[in-house]
């Protein structure tokens, strides 16, 4: 037994294929990104070592600062716009409402759709001439707007679909957390005369803090990484109004051929995500609950 499970050759056969693919495609490239980020390079000529000057330029670059600000706005909007409704619906559905499974199934559908599809769909909804949104507004006598072409509206219009899409995901995560609370706890609270709202506030929410932390981490990090939807809807325009760090990174690399700057942005995104991950871990330290 020990001899078989301690067989080094067998271990290598099991681990090596995956290990090689993972190292070559994920681990080494991260290091290379770091290396590119201290170079000035257009992808064709020679690389010139410039130290941290790419990063210094980054923090002075107005478009980049705007993109970072936008992604933070999205993070806050996601927390408010996703987690609050998700928590509400999770609390309601977990209390054995009629049609619980049907609602749960329906709410989750948008999560499965490809961002490309959602983006195209919302391009049609926001279409200034024939879109559904303007059609509704005109029904009520309003004038409608060019939602994605107008600097005043573009941010809200391009963030809405992403918030809408993932409410169901957070709802399901929180719902699963609530369902893992043993029913005896609720029975005890009920005997003590607690109402549904009191139970939600004083019993359920404190018990699912851990799950809420997972949701929070997901909402924040997902916002900081967002690329697909903005790329499909606006590519960051008009005039950087809907830019997020990853779209700016993409255009720096593949349109302006600024490989060094683009890599510095990539490193920034990774560090920012890790930073927020640890901040959330630290500030919402929750002891494991055992029943």
């Amino acid at each position: 037994m020990q001899r078989i499970l301690g067989n080094k050759k067998a271990y290598l056969v099991f681990v090596l294929p995956a290990f090689i693919i993972y190292v070559v495609m994920a681990f080494v490239p991260i290091m290379i990104s770091g290396y590119y980020s201290v170079m000035e390079w257009d992808g064709i000529g020679d690389k010139v070592y410039t130290g941290i000057s790419n990063y210094l330029e980054l923090v002075k670059d107005e478009a980049f600062l705007l993109s970072a600000r936008n992604s933070l706005i999205l993070a806050v909007a996601s927390i408010v716009g996703q987690l609050i409704p998700a928590l509400f619906f999770a609390l309601v559905l977990a209390r054995n409402v009629k049609g619980e499974k049907v609602y749960r199934t329906i709410y989750f559908i948008p999560v499965l759709l490809s961002t490309v599809v959602i983006g195209q769909l919302f391009l049609k909804i926001y279409n200034p001439d024939y879109g559904a949104l303007n059609a509704i507004i005109k029904c009520f006598g309003g004038k409608g707007a060019d939602w994605l072409g107008d600097k005043r509206f573009v941010l809200a219009a391009s963030f809405f679909p992403i918030i809408w899409q993932y409410i169901g995901y957070h709802m399901l995560i929180l719902y699963t957390g609530i369902k893992s609370v043993p029913s005896e706890i609720y029975e005890a609270a009920q005997i003590d005369g607690a109402t549904e709202t009191q139970m939600a506030v004083h019993v359920t929410i404190p018990l699912i803090k851990n799950t809420m932390k997972v949701s929070l981490t997901f909402a924040v990090i997902g916002s900081l990484k967002l690329f697909d939807l903005i790329w499909v809807l606006t590519k960051g325009g008009p005039l950087h109004a809907s830019e997020v760090p990853s779209t700016l990174m993409y255009t720096s690399i593949f349109t302006r051929m600024e490989y060094g700057m683009g890599s510095a942005m990539a490193v920034f995104i990774v560090v920012e995500c890790l930073l927020f991950y640890f901040v959330i871990e630290k500030f919402f330290k929750v002891e494991a609950i055992t029943y």
Binding site: L5, G6, Y11, A18, I30, V92, L112, V117, V214
Partner: protein, 275 residues
């Protein structure tokens, strides 16, 4: 009486939210069956007056969405199978075998859970370019496998830890080698976990966009995400065919969801909690 009012109110709220969640899809289905005359003459949102099935014919054959669909199915299938088998092997070794350095290997793969695709986009692009591998199936298949692995491995390790050791012990005592034990005894046992992980991999591969639009260009290798991005320019004015293309791209996911909604839901939640 008061309770009933609250209940009714809650149900209205639940139903209203359900409509908000599915209406965009219904809107899509409707306009995929309309022609431009109908849309431009004011019926943007309603039920189509006449069903224009030719939009689907147009999308599938003239705009090549059928070809992109086949590509997407091929790429996704290869990624699911290869990453599934590799993840099983690694997680079996990590969970069961006693070899020095085991913990380092585990930590190493777990770092992968934190790596966003952005961070490797340019280096992988340059690597593929140098290997003359851009614009091939491998160009996306291999990176997809690499990024499917960490999640799959973590899920599978958890599953192996719940499996009792006895079966393997008796197999070993009967003189069965470790590889035969793995392929004939272990693999059949991990099917449920493999199914969950396959669903997770399916969704992330099927919907991935950043790698696909960067590493693939030619018609021949385009997957649905790339194909649809390219189709936009050509068909901006033809709402119906565009809509039909979007429906085709979405249908496989929705069918899988309706067939396995419980597994899909638990798989996605498992992904969240581990990640």
């Amino acid at each position: 009486m008061k309770i009933n009012v609250t209940k009714v109110f809650l149900h209205i709220l639940l139903a209203a939210f359900a409509i908000v969640q599915v209406y965009p899809l219904i809107f899509l289905l409707f306009f995929s069956l309309k022609d431009n005359n109908e849309i431009y003459s004011g019926n943007v949102m309603g039920v189509p007056h006449k069903l224009h099935w030719e939009n689907y014919h147009n999308a599938l054959f003239n705009a090549n969405v059928g070809h992109y669909l086949v590509n997407s199915i091929f790429v996704t299938a290869v990624v699911i199978v290869v990453s599934g088998i590799l993840a099983c092997m690694v997680s079996y070794a990590i969970a069961r075998m006693r070899v020095r350095g085991n913990n380092i290997v585990k930590t190493f793969f777990s770092i992968g859970l934190m790596i966003p695709l952005h961070a490797v986009l340019l280096p992988v692009f340059i690597m593929l370019r140098n290997l003359k591998m851009l614009d091939t199936y491998q160009a996306i298949i291999v990176p997809y496998i690499a990024f499917a692995l960490p999640m799959a491995i973590f899920f599978m390790i958890g599953f192996f830890q719940t499996l009792p050791l006895e079966l393997e012990e008796s197999a070993f005592l009967d003189g069965c080698g470790i590889f035969r034990t793995f392929f004939t005894i272990i693999l059949p046992l991990v099917k449920p976990a493999l199914a969950t992980i396959s669903i997770f991999t399916f969704l992330s591969t099927w919907n991935e966009m950043m790698f696909a639009i960067t590493f693939i260009n030619s018609e021949k290798y385009r997957t649905l995400t790339v194909g649809i991005m390219q189709m936009v320019g050509q068909y901006t004015t033809d709402w119906g065919s565009m809509g039909a293309g979007l429906v085709v791209a979405t249908l496989p996911t929705v069918i899988i969801y309706l067939l396995f909604s419980n597994q899909v839901q638990s798989g996605m939640v498992a992904g969240a909690v581990k990640g």
